[in-house]
Symmetry: C2
DNA sequence: ATACATCCTCTAGCAACTGGAGGTTCAAGA
DNA sequence: TCTTGAACCTCCAGTTGCTAGAGGATGTAT
């Protein structure tokens, strides 16, 4: 049986995060010692590893919840998982597009800065005036 | 003089967001009508446009605060603004690298899915077992 | 004079954690 | 067996950058 600290180390998670996952129902309530401390088995280790890996791939917790439901029901058709992964892929691709535009703009700003003082700073000027931008970058969220 | 709603429309900001910026000291406290409604002038319009444009380029509010300080003090040397922009550029480039790795992994997952049921789903399998991943993707934050 | 869009303040919520206070439990060494 | 001290417990608040809603006041046009 693993303590929460050991589980944390093994999965590269913070202890508080594990408790948080329990609180929101993503991790089950584990066994406890007489004194009330959590003790975990291998099933929980696997589950947490799955969650963390999915998080590393950028899946939101809601999506991970759905994926976990699927692993718990091996008979259900796979296309749901496929769907979720495709959705995530699309999101990643959108974000990349957006970041590409930002990078272009930022590079240009930095390159044009000739090191005077704030009054004639190109960086500040570009920020002041959107029309100086060559690319579109209209969303704000990440 | 502009109402908050007009200011919002002109800058593509929500009304609440403007009030929020005021609350955190990013926007100044504007004049008020006798009845207590906010009225804005052109300086505030410019300032908000600056903020919004910076947000579109991904600058966090803290960085924007520094940039605004610089525009308010035109004598200060420009390299601070340059620094901030370079920092932001670096961040964007890091994120792009990370997303590239994620995209690779997700593409592979989706491609290998042959459409059976959950038990033999490649998507779920890859998520279960990190060692199936070819690329590094070890940070979690966006 | 009245309608009604817009404004006001205040509070709470989102995602996904993270940190700390203040107190208990567990395991190892003397 | 006792004692130390690391690791555990619960609960609450904070992070970032907004967004939504309740419940009520104001401003403007007819």
């Amino acid at each position: 049986m693993l303590t929460i600290g050991t589980l944390a180390k093994r999965t590269g998670t913070k202890v508080q995060t594990i408790r948080y996952y329990e609180q929101i129902g993503l991790m089950p309530e584990p066994d406890r010692t007489e004194g009330g401390q959590r003790r975990y088995g291998d099933a929980e280790l696997d589950r947490l590893a799955f969650i963390r890996h999915s998080r590393q791939l950028g899946f939101p917790l809601d999506a991970i919840r759905e994926l976990l439901d699927l692993t718990d029901a091996p008979d259900r058709p796979c296309h749901e998982a496929d769907e979720i992964a495709r959705r995530q892929l699309k999101l990643v691709e959108q974000r990349m597009e957006r970041l590409k535009a930002l990078r272009t703009e930022l590079k240009r700003m930095v390159k044009e800065c000739s090191g005077g003082n704030a009054a004639q700073c190109r960086v500040l000027e570009v920020l002041r005036d959107h029309s100086e931008c060559l690319t579109e970058h209209d969303q704000i969220g990440a």
